[in-house]
C-alpha cells in the first residue's frame, strides 16, 4: 500500500517529545498487574513434573497415587492431550508435554492442579515415571557428526539436493547470496578465514512465565497471561485444546520482559487443560529454574567465516557457514542468521549458509533480532582482522564497503534509504573515538542489522462524551508503546497527549493482532493508529457538518478542531473535538475510528556500536569502561524509550559477550539454571550507555517509523570481542569471553 510521503518531513507537535508514560504510576506503586498477580475464586495451583534426563523413552507414567491425594483436582499427561491439529502444531504440543520421549532436561511429563502449593508439590512426588535413558547430544557440532544420536527420528535435511534418504539432526540448510565466490576470492589481496563459536543464552526476562486459566464445561474459557502476543496464544491454545477461537478470551497482563521469549506457548495450554479437567481456575507460574530449563533460550552456534579484501579495502568476496542449534524442535534460525550475516555490506560476491541443527536442549525461541548477533560476531570480528591485515582503520574499512540505497542485499532485496553509512560516519566522528585509552584497555566497534517486521494489526479509537479518547491497541506494550501510540493518536487528532488513554485490549474486544515481535509494535500499531485517527477525524467532520448544517467538504480538521472553510463561513467559530464529542448523542451516536491493516514496508535498521574494555591480564577479568550506541530509528516517536531500547539491547549483548552461557554437563543436564550462575549484567557491571539516535525516515510509513527494539543487540558481541582482543593482544573467537577463556587465550598466545 502507498502512504503520504509528506508525513516523513512534517513538523510534529507532540511526537518526539518525552512525555511520562501512562502506565508509570501503576508500575511505581506496585499496582500494575503482571502474569502472576491475578486471582480467581476457587483457583487451584498448577505445577509441572519435568524430566531429569536429556533424552529418554517414557516407558510408563503412573499418576494413580497423585490422583488419590486429598486436595488434588486434576492430573494431566500427554494421554489427556490428543493432537487436534492433524500434526500441524504437534511440535508445540509435544514441547508443552512430552509424548513418547523426553527430549531435554526439564521437558514436562505431567502436571497437577491442587488446592494449594504444598499439596501440588506432594502430588508431583507421587507420580512415578519409568524412563529408558537414551543417548543424548547437546553440542551443535557433535550433533552434525555421523553416528550422533538422532533427536527427532524421521528428520530429513531440507534445502539440500538431492533429497537425503537418511535421518539427520540437520533439519534444514538455507543458502543466500549472489555473484561468484571463487572469482571474488581470486581477486583478493588478503583472505581471512576463521572459525567462531557462541554459547547459548537466555532472554533473562525477570518475570517468569505465568498465567491464570479458566475453562468451563461449556467450552468457553479465559486466560490471563504474560505474553508478547495474546492473539497468538489464543490461536495456539485453542488449536491445541480443540476450542473455538471466539470462546477463548485471552487478556495480556502487564509483561515483565519478553525479548522474544514470550512469543511461544509453554505452560499455558496445559494450565487450560488442567482447568478444564478440574472445572476450576488454575494458576500456573514457572520457577526461575523452569524458565531456564524449559522455556525458549536462543541458539548456540559454530561458524566458519571467510572474507577476501583488496589492499584498498574493497571486499571482493564473503562466505559464511553458520550452524545454529535449534534445541529439540526445528525452526528457521539458521535461515535468519544466513540472511543477516552480510546485510551491512555492499558485496559483489557473497554466500551465507545457515544450518538448523537439532540437539537435546529446550526448543529455541526468538531472542531480540534472533540469529543476527552470532552471525555478526563472526563477520564483524573477521572485518577487524582484515582491517589489521591491510593496515586500514576498521571504521574506514566498513565505510568503504557499507551498503547504501540501491545496494542488492546479500539476502535478496534491493535497499531503499538505509542508515548503515550514516551510523558509521557518526561513529567515526563520535567523541568516544577520540578519547585516549589507558593501560590494558582496548577499543572495539562493530555494526549490526535487523530486518524489522510489520504484520496484521488492528486498532480502535473511541471518543468519550467529554472529548477524552480511548485508544485500544492489540500489540502488547513491551517497552513503552502505550506512550508512543498515545503520542501518535494525539498528533493526528490535534489534541494534548493527556487527553488520550491507551490500553491493550483483550482478544474479545479487538480483532487479531500479530505478536509484538520483530520490532513491529510502534511501526505497525503506529500505522493502524494513524489510520484509525484519520477515520475518526472524518467522522468528527461529519458531525461538525451536521452541527453547522454545512457540507462536510467545506470543513477542515486543524489543530484538534473543525474549521469551516471559505468566506461564507467566516462567522462560524471553530468546533473543538470536545464540543463535537459533547453533542455526539444527538448527531449520530458514539464517535470512533477503526483500522485493520497488514502493515507492510517495515524499514530495515542498522547500528554501529563503540566500546572500550579493560582486561586484567593476570585474571582475564573484564570491565566495560565506555559504551556508545548509534542507531537509525527512523522517526523516534518517544526518544526516551528509543534510547531505552538501545541501552537495554546493548546491555543484553554485553552480558552475552562476556559472561552469559548455558552450561551443560556430560549427562546432558543444565548446570546453571538460575540467576546465580547464569550471569546477566548487574548494575555495577555497566557504565552509562551513551546513545545517538539517527532519524532516517522509512518511506513506507506515514511518520517514517522503522522499528528500534532489536538491532541494538546485534553489534555488542563483536564490538566487545574486538575491544577485548585489542586489549588482550589476542583474537577472541569464543563467546562468552569469560575470564577463564580470556586468560587461556592470553597464555596460549604467549606460549
Amino acid at each position: 500500500m502507498t502512504h503520504d510521503q509528506s508525513f516523513t518531513n512534517q513538523k510534529f507537535k507532540v511526537v518526539g517529545t518525552r512525555v511520562n508514560r501512562p502506565d508509570g504510576v501503576d508500575k511505581v506503586t506496585g499496582r500494575a498487574k503482571y502474569g502472576a498477580d491475578a486471582t480467581a475464586p476457587g483457583q487451584l495451583v498448577g505445577l509441572f513434573l519435568r524430566s531429569p534426563h536429556a533424552h529418554a523413552r517414557i516407558k510408563k507414567i503412573d499418576t494413580s497415587k497423585a490422583e488419590k491425594l486429598k486436595g488434588v483436582k486434576a492430573v494431566i499427561t500427554s494421554a489427556d492431550l490428543p493432537d487436534h491439529t492433524n500434526g500441524a502444531l504437534l511440535d508445540k504440543l509435544t514441547n508443552c508435554m512430552a509424548r513418547d520421549r523426553v527430549l531435554y532436561d526439564g521437558h514436562a511429563v505431567a502436571a497437577v492442579a491442587a488446592i494449594d502449593r504444598q499439596t501440588a508439590k506432594k502430588a508431583l512426588k507421587l507420580i512415578k515415571v519409568s524412563y529408558e535413558v537414551l543417548p543424548h547430544v547437546t553440542d551443535v557440532d557433535e550433533a552434525m557428526k555421523p553416528g550422533a544420536p538422532i533427536v527427532q527420528p524421521g528428520t530429513k535435511t531440507r534445502g539440500v539436493d538431492p533429497k537425503p534418504t537418511k535421518d539427520s539432526n540437520v533439519a534444514g540448510v538455507s543458502t543466500f547470496g549472489h555473484g561468484d565466490l571463487d572469482a571474488g576470492f581470486k581477486e583478493a589481496d588478503v583472505i581471512i578465514e576463521k572459525s567462531y563459536k557462541t554459547e547459548q543464552t537466555h532472554q533473562g526476562y525477570i518475570e517468569p512465565h505465568a498465567c491464570l486459566a479458566s475453562v468451563g464445561p461449556d467450552g468457553s474459557g479465559e486466560l490471563w497471561v504474560t505474553t508478547q502476543g495474546h492473539y497468538t496464544y489464543r490461536t495456539d491454545c485453542a488449536a491445541l485444546l480443540g476450542m473455538d477461537l471466539a470462546k477463548l478470551k485471552v487478556t495480556s497482563s502487564e509483561i515483565g520482559g519478553g525479548f522474544g521469549g514470550k512469543t511461544h506457548v509453554w505452560i499455558e495450554p496445559i494450565a487450560l487443560a488442567l482447568s478444564r479437567k478440574a472445572n476450576r481456575p488454575v494458576k500456573a507460574v514457572m520457577t526461575r529454574e523452569e524458565v531456564f530449563k524449559a522455556s525458549g533460550p536462543t541458539c548456540s552456534t559454530s561458524m566458519d567465516i571467510k572474507i577476501g579484501v583488496k589492499k584498498d579495502g574493497t571486499i571482493t568476496a564473503g562466505s559464511a557457514h553458520i550452524r545454529y542449534q535449534d534445541g529439540a524442535f526445528p525452526f528457521i534460525w539458521g535461515q535468519l542468521g544466513a540472511m543477516t550475516a552480510f546485510a551491512c555490506y555492499d558485496l559483489k560476491n557473497v554466500q551465507a549458509v545457515g544450518y538448523d541443527v537439532l540437539v537435546n536442549r529446550p526448543k529455541v525461541a526468538a531472542y531480540r533480532a534472533p540469529s543476527a548477533p552470532m552471525a555478526a560476531f563472526g563477520v564483524e570480528s573477521t572485518m577487524d582482522l582484515l582491517a589489521e591485515a591491510i593496515g586500514m582503520d576498521p571504521v574506514e574499512l566498513r565505510i568503504k564497503n557499507a551498503a547504501k540505497e540501491g545496494t542488492k542485499a546479500s539476502y535478496g532485496p534491493t535497499y531503499g534509504p538505509i542508515g548503515i553509512g550514516p551510523t558509521l560516519e557518526a561513529a567515526k566522528n563520535h567523541p568516544h573515538m577520540k578519547t585516549k585509552l589507558k593501560k590494558n584497555q582496548g577499543r572495539g566497534m562493530a555494526c549490526g542489522f535487523w530486518f524489522n517486521f510489520g504484520g496484521q494489526t488492528c486498532t480502535d479509537i473511541n471518543i468519550g462524551s467529554d472529548g477524552t479518547v480511548n485508544l485500544s491497541l492489540g500489540t502488547v506494550d513491551v517497552g513503552g508503546s502505550r506512550a508512543s501510540m498515545s503520542l501518535i493518536c494525539a498528533e493526528e487528532l490535534g489534541i494534548p497527549y493527556e487527553q488520550v488513554k491507551a490500553n491493550v485490549a483483550d482478544t474479545s474486544s479487538l480483532g487479531h493482532n500479530d505478536t509484538t515481535e520483530g520490532s513491529r509494535g510502534t511501526f505497525s500499531s503506529g500505522m493502524a493508529t494513524i489510520f484509525a485517527a484519520r477515520e475518526a477525524i472524518e467522522e468528527l467532520k461529519n458531525r461538525a457538518a451536521q452541527m453547522w448544517d454545512i457540507p462536510v467538504e467545506e470543513i477542515e480538521w486543524i489543530d484538534g478542531e473543525a474549521r469551516a472553510v471559505g468566506q461564507q463561513h467566516d462567522n462560524l467559530p471553530p468546533l473543538t473535538l470536545k464540543e463535537i464529542a459533547a453533542k455526539a448523542a444527538g448527531t449520530g451516536g458514539p464517535i470512533a475510528g477503526h483500522n485493520e491493516v497488514v502493515a507492510d514496508g517495515a524499514g530495515v535498521s542498522f547500528a554501529s556500536h563503540i566500546c572500550d574494555v579493560e582486561v586484567d591480564p593476570e585474571t582475564g577479568g573484564t570491565k566495560v569502561v565506555r559504551y556508545t550506541v548509534i542507531q537509525d530509528a527512523g522517526k523516534a516517536i518517544h526518544p526516551d524509550y528509543v534510547e531505552g531500547q538501545f541501552q537495554g539491547g546493548a546491555a543484553q549483548g554485553i552480558g552475552w559477550a562476556l559472561n552469559e552461557e548455558y552450561i551443560y554437563g556430560e549427562d546432558g543436564t543444565l548446570q546453571n539454571a538460575g540467576f546465580l550462575d547464569y550471569r546477566i549484567p548487574v548494575c555495577s557491571d555497566l557504565p552509562f550507555i551513551d546513545t545517538q539516535i539517527l532519524e532516517i525516515p522509512n518511506p513506507n510509513h506515514p511518520y517514517g517509523i522503522r522499528g528500534v527494539g532489536e538491532t541494538s543487540i546485534v553489534p555488542p558481541l563483536a564490538a566487545i570481542g574486538n575491544a577485548v582482543s585489542n586489549a588482550a593482544g589476542v583474537r577472541m573467537t569464543h563467546v562468552p569471553m569469560s575470564p577463564p577463556r580470556i586468560l587461556k587465550a592470553i597464555e596460549d598466545a604467549g606460549a
Binding site: 546465580l676 548487574v682 557491571d685
Partner: protein, 286 residues
Amino acid sequence: MRYEAPTTTKEAATLLAKENGEACVLAGGTDLLVRMKMGLSEPDLIVDIKHIPAMQEIKISASGTKIGAAVSGTRLGDNKALKKAWPGVVEATNLIGSDQVQGRCTMVGNLCNASPAADSVPAMIAAGAKAVVVGPKKRRTVTVENIVTGPGQTSLEKGEVIESITLPKRSGKSGDAYLRFIPRTEMDIAVVSAGVNLTLEKGVVKTARVCLGAVAPTAVLVPDAAKAIIGTKLDKAALESLAAACSAACNPIDDKRGTVEYRTKVAGVLGRRAAEIAFKRAGGSK
C-alpha cells in the same frame, strides 16, 4: 515442619538433639531457604537462633573479639572498631551477596553451609579464628579450619550449634585482607579466593597465615605461602614465591565457575595481591 525460636543456645542445642528428622539451624536463611526452594532440603524442624541474645553480640575486649552467630553482614560492616581491627574478615563477609543478602547472612552460616567457595571462611582461617561450639551437654572451642570437613559437611555433632566466632587479640602492626575473583562485579560465588593475615616487626613480616578458597573441597591453609613471606619486606621474589606456593596448594575441580588451570593460576595472583594489601594495612612499606 516445626519452627522454633529459642532464646538460649542450650535450648537450641537441645531442640536440635531431640529431633529425629531433618533439623536445620536458621540464622540469616540465605542458604537454607535457597536449598528449600530448590527441593534440596526439607527440614522437619527449623531452629531460628536470631532470638538468642548471646548470638547477636559483637564484643571487643582485651582478650580478643567475639562475634555472635546471628550477627548479620550489615551489622558487622557497621561496626567501625571491628572493621579497623580485622578489615579482611569484615570485607570478606561483606562480599557475600547483595545488600539484601547482607541484611540477613552471617559468618557462621557461611561457615556451616560448608561451601568450598564461602567468602568469609578463608579470611577467618587466615585470622586464626575459633568457633565456640555448644552442644546439649558441653561447649567446646574449635579452630575454624577444623569445622568444615568437605563440601556440605562439617565436624559438628548432632545437636551442636556454633554460638560465636572469636578472633584473637591484635598485636601491634598487623593487617589482613581478602580477595576473590568473580566474573561480574557483584552477586557471584568466588571462582577462587585468598585471605592473608600478617604482623610486622620493624617493617619485616613476622607472622603470616595464608588461606585459599574454592581451590579444594575445603578452604586450604597454605603454610608454605606464609613461609615464603615471613622474614621479608614483601619483595618481588617473596611475592612470587608466595604465589607459587598458593598455586602448588591447589587441588581444584573443573566446574561451571572455573577450570582447574584457571583456579590454580589465579590463586597465586590473588594470594600475592591480598598479601600486598595486608602488608600495607599493617603499615608496611617497601
